[in-house]
Symmetry: C2
Subunit: 197 residues, 2 copies
């Protein structure tokens, strides 16, 4: 993959490439996170406990607080591949929103959005995340169980198990090149008790 | 386009082509509906008032009643182009759900779902429709204003201004090759008064 640009990490990306940050250990540690840093070109590996500080310090990724937040992804016109990333601190955990523009089919970029828990798959099963777009009398909502960052974000996106937008839908929901994504996290027990459907 | 198959109109489609039904008039009548019959290969034109009977009688399309219904689209594996169509009678009007499998990009079929009001664009503006998929702890909702059948369904779909599913998402929401689509219609005033968002 070519180096990617991360709207949430402009200091890194303005240099054109992401800074190298190899912390590989010679002895394989099963608790090492294999591909936790979801930025395309970052080969960093590390324990779960230090993923947040890696993302903050190396990639300057912000943390937003609160059960319901809105993340504004700017410059949606940037060429694929591009990542937009934000951390979301909620219910005692940190989550990662990854919005990726990628050309699965050459010449036809799509947007893929998913949330990952910075935690184990067992912990992730306790939560439900919701992504919501709302503009021009149109509304699109995606709800699912977050994956763990111990699973690779690339496979989530290549499986298409996430919110998928083609460019025409992304334009309908964008305002002046920016996409506002409403994000909410609930615990799964709350979710299954919903009488909404 | 090649002749399409409509799961809701098997008697027509089992013959491989849809029955011809040319009712063209020599004097152009501005109230004639230009492309009301959304089935790919049907060239029928007619007044708004007779669209429902055309769809029922010629294409054997069923009408479901009620504010909230579930339409089960079967045989999702059928090759593109394929249409699944149902009429929905609700709030004193008839609506048309069109689910179309189409290859915008060769070799990559996608599913497009939209609702049309069998009425004028001004009437359509009074309503909001919701399509909802719910399976495997995933939920996808699309809400928008229905288009009028006086506008061409082909252009709605080619503009991508509808619920769009790639095949992997469609498989995640399908059960044994069938896709259950929850459909709800509300009046726009009810919708704007919602405190949900």
């Amino acid at each position: 993959y070519a180096p990617t640009r991360c709207a949430a990490a402009q200091t890194s990306t303005e240099q054109g490439i992401l800074p190298p940050c190899h912390h590989h250990e010679t002895v394989h540690d099963p608790q090492l996170v294999p591909c936790t840093c979801p930025l395309f070109s970052c080969p960093w590996e590390g324990h779960l406990e230090v993923v947040v500080s890696h993302l903050r310090q190396t990639h300057r990724i912000n943390i937003l607080q609160g059960a319901e937040i809105v993340f504004l992804a700017t410059d949606m016109h940037l060429p694929a591949p591009t990542d937009w990333i934000i951390m979301h601190s909620c219910l005692g955990h940190q989550f990662l929103l990854v919005l990726r523009k990628q050309e699965k089919y050459e010449g036809h970029p799509q947007f893929f959005a998913t949330m990952m828990l910075i935690g184990t798959p067992t912990q992730a099963d306790n939560f439900t995340y919701r992504l919501e777009l709302n503009r021009n009398q149109r509304r699109l909502k995606w709800e699912a169980t977050p994956r763990s960052v111990l699973e690779c974000v690339d496979s989530v996106i290549s499986d298409g198990d996430c919110l998928v937008l083609n460019t025409s839908l992304a334009q309908l929901f964008s305002d002046n090149g920016s996409l506002a994504i409403g994000i909410a996290i609930t615990t799964s027990k709350v979710h299954s008790a919903e009488a909404e459907m």
